[in-house]
Amino acid sequence: MARAIMSDIKRDHIHKLLSKGKRVDGRTWDEFRQVSIERRFVESAEGSARVMLGDTDVLVGVKIETGTPFSDTPDRGVLSTNAELIPLASPNFESGPPDEDSIELARVVDRGIRESEMIDLTALCIAPGEEVWLCFVDMYVLDYDGNLFDAAFLGAVAALKSAMVPAAMNGKGEDFPLPIRNTPISCTAVQIENSILFDPTLDEEKVAAARLTVTTDENGDIRAMQKGLEGSLTLEQAKRIIETSQRLGRDLRKLIG
């Protein structure tokens, strides 16, 4: 996706405020927007959550089916993560197969979940090498006002934590919750003229030079990172983002419960 264009006036406005240490919406540099999470929004999904991060609105659903495992992990369930930047959510999103932006989003969320070992995939094996539970996480952006990474990640984690494995319907005993071992949280910051801003709005993203997403686990350890955009970060900036993510992650984790 070509990055959306922004008027010079607006750009100058953001820069001018930043030079005074301020953000357009009055937040501090390390402050997230209002977060709301509505679990089980969609009944047809085994788990779901709708997350609002300010005006960014993401709906995540989890579908769980039986299927065959990958041949190199015969005793583990399968996690599959997909993101859809549907054109309903932004004038800059287009119809069609996932583009590089939705692929990056899906893969960054996927790595955060997978590398934190959030789900005990071994508990999703039914018959080794033959039948396992397949777990599809589909993330739909409904309204786009910046920081999709964190909104989608919160939605995915909340949806997974709300999900029941439909064992009864499949003749596999009683339904049970997805086996969750960890609650990872991702925090994303951007660098704009050497200022660091967490949870950027769309306008802030448009003027940002570099982006860093840091996913941490309950111990505060790093489980995944992704630097993005065409600009650079210094090592000090990276370290500051990591430390702040560890701190902010603790607060966000409480919201997920």
């Binding site: 929004f41 659903g61 997909n82 004038p91 589909d138 309204d143």
Partner: protein
């Protein structure tokens, strides 16, 4: 299943009468980025519609120098149905997108905006029979919310047949065992039919009964559409100043 879907009191599996609609909730202006939007809960259906435009038409060879195109994309999200649906259009959604586009094109004053496109996106978040009607109903409200000049809004509803009886607005459980399904969309003021499909088995008499039910229901749905818009404007009046700020910001973006 013959004889099981309507009980001795003439009530259906969810307690409705044969000519009774499911509960319908319509909300206009629910999205920030879209030029217009609406959210519809219709029984267990959850539907979101958004409108962008009139805007430059892509691809350009589709541009019509005499009018705007109305291009609707109807889509079911992956987890809106019991078996996960692979993302991307299937043949069913392509057909539904086409007939909804045709219905909407009739009411939009397309000649006001030559060479442009009015893009309508309908996302079925949760599906429970009758999604194309809920989607078209939502799309009309979203168009109005976007301020697109139009003749009128289009309410839509399906009429079906179960246990040999004509029945309004089938829910999923009924639809699974239904003997006929006929989605329609009309302009209540003129009685013009803009969308009509049928599959199943109906006699001419049954068709006439079905149209009676359908026309009656569309009047009610139309009222709900208008109410949603009124509430939206009322809110705007109250919160006018606050609401204006983001609007101005949007203009700055050019």
């Amino acid at each position: 299943m013959e004889g099981k879907m309507i009980d001795e009191n003439g009530l259906r599996v969810d307690g409705r009468k044969v000519d009774e609609l499911r509960q319908i909730k319509i909300e206009a202006g629910v999205l920030k980025r879209a030029d217009g939007s609406a959210y519809v809960e219709w029984g267990k259906n959850k539907v979101l519609a958004a409108v962008y435009g009139p805007r430059e038409c892509h691809p350009r060879h589709l541009q019509d120098p005499s009018k705007a195109l109305v291009q609707c994309k109807y889509n079911m999200i992956a987890f809106s149905v019991s078996d996960r649906k692979r993302p991307g259009p299937d043949r069913r959604s392509v057909e539904i997108s086409k007939i909804i586009s045709e219905a909407l094109e009739y009411v939009v004053f397309t000649e006001y905006f030559p060479r442009t496109s009015v893009d309508v996106y309908i996302e079925i978040l949760q599906a429970n029979a009758g999604t194309r009607c809920a989607g078209l109903t939502a799309a009309s409200v979203a168009l109005a919310d976007a301020g697109i000049p139009m003749k009128d809004m289009i309410p839509s509803v399906a009429v079906g047949k179960i246990d040999g009886q004509i029945v309004l607005d089938l829910c999923k459980e009924e639809d699974n065992y239904g003997q006929a399904d006929m989605p329609i969309a009309i302009i209540p003021r003129t009685g013009e039919i803009l969308l009509m499909q049928m599959d199943g088995h109906m006699t001419t008499d049954e068709f006439n009964r079905a149209m009676e039910y359908g026309f009656g229901a569309c009047e009610k749905i139309y009222q709900l559409q208008k109410d949603a818009l009124k509430r939206r404007y009322a809110v705007e009046d109250v919160e006018g100043l606050e609401e204006d700020v983001p609007r101005e910001q949007q203009e700055l973006e050019g």
